[in-house]
């Protein structure tokens, strides 16, 4: 009796699913940005998708970014949408390991993404399979006050020596070379990553964040030695440990500091702070070792299909759609960020154009220390970077502590 009931029930469900699939097929999308700009860009893309796929009934959930980070941990198992946003690199790793994100290598294969999205392919790959597609990223680099540089007769430094010399000149003029706010730790990781990428290269960055190299390794010490040189040349503003990145920005806007190692999202608050286009500019983080190819930091936002998605066919259509060159061009134009698809084009904003050129020429794209390293390691590492910036004499103790954490995390 029970089994009969069960079969009837399953049959009914299967029938219902079949009918719903043949008449109006569904696509449930979960997005994570309520800010007016990104929201409008997303909605425009959804409209375009609907126009191309009139037979698909699209349902949209839009969530606050921070709330999404918590909610995704529940909805992937309990009530999965068909596609959802997340982040590349180690941030997607727990979901891939738990089998919650589906393998979408076939989409990459069918659409030729391995070529057009080549720059971020390694960040989307776990054990040779791709678990999502990227839709936007932005460059990191050195943002500087052009008016201060001009006043001091400085030009954009290309080499490490020029970089140090410029820092010293700025420091002697009574302005701090760099601003930063490390209260929330991550801005310090940007500095570390760039020093490490330029000193030791992209592969070393990956080995370190994958736990294959110890923090007491001589090469990591070399990176910190470079950092020490910057500190000696005037370094960063005082009390950065009490400030968030926006408070650090206010010192940049006031002209108390001349440079800021940051992501491109910072340009918005520079403009909001009243700086004109003539006052601000961008240069790529200078070369330290000429033998090391330039790799860049570019945290990537991505789309994924949960394993529990109810309409996997439509989900794959969406993934193919969001990585297409024309879609990425329009979407990123609206976001003020960079498309990943190498056939896309960018707007005429000077920061965007420089960023696009820089990233397309990059030997590798690092996600960011806290996205490439596992969360616990990232937290301890970034606390170490902050401590080093305040108390550089403690370097040995810091590195030994990080080794200890590393040993536990990658066990």
């Amino acid at each position: 009796m029970k089994s009969l009931l069960k079969t009837t029930f399953t049959g009914a469900v299967a029938l219902a699913m079949m009918t719903s699939a043949s008449f109006a097929s569904e696509l449930i999308i979960t997005y994570d940005d309520l800010n007016p700009g990104p929201k409008a860009a997303f909605e425009a893309a959804v409209e375009k998708f609907k126009g191309e796929n009139p037979d698909i009934n699209v349902t949209v959930n839009n969530n606050d970014r921070e709330a999404h980070k918590t909610a995704i941990r529940n909805f992937l198992t309990a009530d999965a949408p068909d596609v959802t946003t997340w982040y590349a690199g180690n941030r997607m790793r727990p979901f891939v390991d738990a089998g919650l994100f589906a393998d979408v290598s076939d989409v990459w294969e069918a659409e030729g993404f391995s070529k057009t999205l080549a720059s971020t392919k390694p960040s989307m790959t776990v054990d040779g399979k791709q678990y999502g597609v990227p839709y936007t990223y932005y460059q990191w680099g050195v943002y500087y006050r052009k008016d201060i540089f001009d006043k001091l007769g400085l030009s954009e430094p290309k080499t490490w020596d020029e970089f140090i010399a410029a820092s010293k000149t700025i420091n002697e003029s009574g302005v701090k070379p760099f601003t930063i706010g490390t209260k929330f730790l991550w801005p310090a990781a940007g500095v570390f990553d760039y020093l490490n990428l330029r000193q030791n290269g992209y592969d070393f960055h990956n080995q370190l964040t994958a736990g294959e190299v110890k923090y007491t390794d001589q090469r990591v010490r070399d990176t910190f030695a470079r950092w020490q040189e910057l500190l000696d040349a005037g370094g960063w503003v005082d009390n950065h440990a009490t400030m968030d990145w926006q408070e650090g920005m206010s010192l940049f806007i006031n002209g108390e500091a001349a440079m800021y190692v940051m992501g491109n999202f910072a340009v918005g608050s520079m403009r909001d702070g009243g700086l004109t286009e003539e006052q601000i500019d961008f240069f790529q983080f200078p070369v330290i070792n000429p033998d090391i190819a330039n790799a860049e930091e570019a945290p990537t936002d991505t789309w994924h299909m949960p394993t529990n998605a109810k309409n996997p066919e439509n989900a794959k259509k969406w993934l193919a759609f969001v990585a297409r060159e024309d879609v990425q061009t329009e979407w990123n134009e609206a976001l003020g960020q960079l498309p990943i698809n190498s056939n896309s084009t960018v707007g005429d904003d000077k920061f965007i154009q420089q960023g696009f050129a820089t990233l397309n020429a990059a030997a590798g794209i690092a996600q960011f220390y806290d996205r490439d390293a596992p969360a616990e390691m990232a937290k301890a590492g970034m606390e170490g970077f902050q401590e080093f910036m305040v108390k550089p004499e403690r370097l040995d103790a810091i590195l030994e502590r990080l080794d200890k954490v590393q040993e536990r995390v990658y066990k």
């Binding site: 980070k69 941990r73 992937l76 198992t77 727990p94 979901f95 738990a98 089998g99 919650l100 490390t182 209260k183 929330f184 730790l185 005082d238 009390n239 950065h240 440990a241 009490t242 949960p306 394993t307 529990n308 806290d370 969360a375 616990e376 990232a378 937290k379 606390e383 170490g384 902050q386 401590e387 305040v390 502590r401 200890k404 536990r408």
Partner: protein, 317 residues
């Protein structure tokens, strides 16, 4: 029933026909009234305590597998051994002790202010309300205001230091000062709380005993120590209890003012637990639960002492 019908007299019939529930209503009534509270207390307090202890034996990132099975792995006591080797844990523990000791200052200071305000002057109610004010506003607001006070660039502390020609310290960025800075901010509302407890206590101090003390020549400290304070004992007890608990659960201030920084030096157990288990860089539920269990054990020492004390006092009277 047949037995009842053979006897005359309606009362007997009635009593037995009401049944077990009615016969035991006097015994049941308190439990019925307690039931809602007990059920919720069990669901939200007692059961989670055991769940936390249970989770602390697992390595778990809070995710379930796609098929709904749990991804937790049994590790036994490993998290507790890891704690013994964790510098951050010792920093947090040390800061918790600092909090406990320094937070106690709220009790005598609260008493001092209460004694000072316990007089009849025009507008005393306004003064009392002003002193009580910090307890009414949210801890988050207190934390935010104090982090502005401490800001060396534009805060009042920086202004004062500069007035005397000194370089202002960045209290919240200095690992040696940061915990004291946060405790000081936390004391502000806590003193107000203790003050209000003492003010109500002072209302109940018997005037005839004061009078008698005065006739015997007691005044000043002696009067306070031998006549007033003993009568304030219930208020003191309560003030100590809320201050101990307040010190151990200090969380909001740290979250707002420093996030445990710089480099973890202002962490306390409750915030460290949150950071490990629930923050963006955490999701290590097992380890976080182990910290929670340690914190719970520390609290249990105080809680059992207070319960024992209350039980003894009640039996004594």
């Amino acid at each position: 029933m047949s037995d009842a019908t053979t006897h005359p007299g309606s009362t007997v019939v009635k009593a037995s026909s009401y049944g077990w529930f009615h016969r035991n209503r006097i015994k049941l009534a308190p439990w019925l009234f307690l039931a809602p509270a007990l059920i919720f207390f069990a669901i939200y307090v007692v059961i989670p305590i055991f769940q936390s202890i249970w989770i602390s034996f697992y390595e778990w990132n809070g995710l379930d597998n796609a098929d709904g099975s749990s991804s937790a792995v049994w590790v036994g006591l490993r998290h507790y051994f890891d704690l013994l080797d964790d510098d951050r844990f010792y920093t947090s523990l040390k800061n918790n002790v600092l909090w406990l000791v320094l937070f106690m200052l709220a009790v005598p200071i609260g008493l001092g202010i209460a004694l000072f305000l316990n007089q009849t002057v025009t507008g005393i109610r306004i003064y009392k309300s002003l002193f009580f004010f910090p307890f009414v506003i949210s801890q988050v607001v207190v934390g935010l205001i104090f982090s502005w006070f401490y800001n060396p660039n534009f805060g009042i502390v920086g202004q004062v230091w500069e007035f005397f020609g000194a370089v202002p310290p960045a209290i919240l960025a200095d690992e040696d000062l940061v915990t004291y800075g946060i405790i000081f901010a936390g004391l502000w509302p806590q003193i107000a709380y203790c003050m209000i407890l003492y003010l109500t206590g002072l209302n109940n101090v018997a005037p005839d005993q004061i009078e008698a003390g005065r006739l015997d020549g007691a005044k000043g400290w002696k009067m306070l120590w031998y006549v007033v304070l003993p009568q304030l004992w219930p208020a003191t007890f309560l003030a100590i209890v809320v201050t101990v608990i307040g010190a151990l659960r200090s969380f909001d201030m740290i979250a707002i003012m420093t996030q445990g920084g710089p480099y973890g030096s202002s962490n306390v157990l409750s915030y460290y637990m949150y950071e490990t288990a629930l923050s963006e860089y955490g999701y290590r539920y097992g380890y976080g639960s182990a910290i929670a269990v340690v914190l719970f054990a520390i609290m249990m020492i105080f809680i059992s002492f207070f319960l024992w004390k209350m039980w003894r006092d009640e039996r004594g009277s």
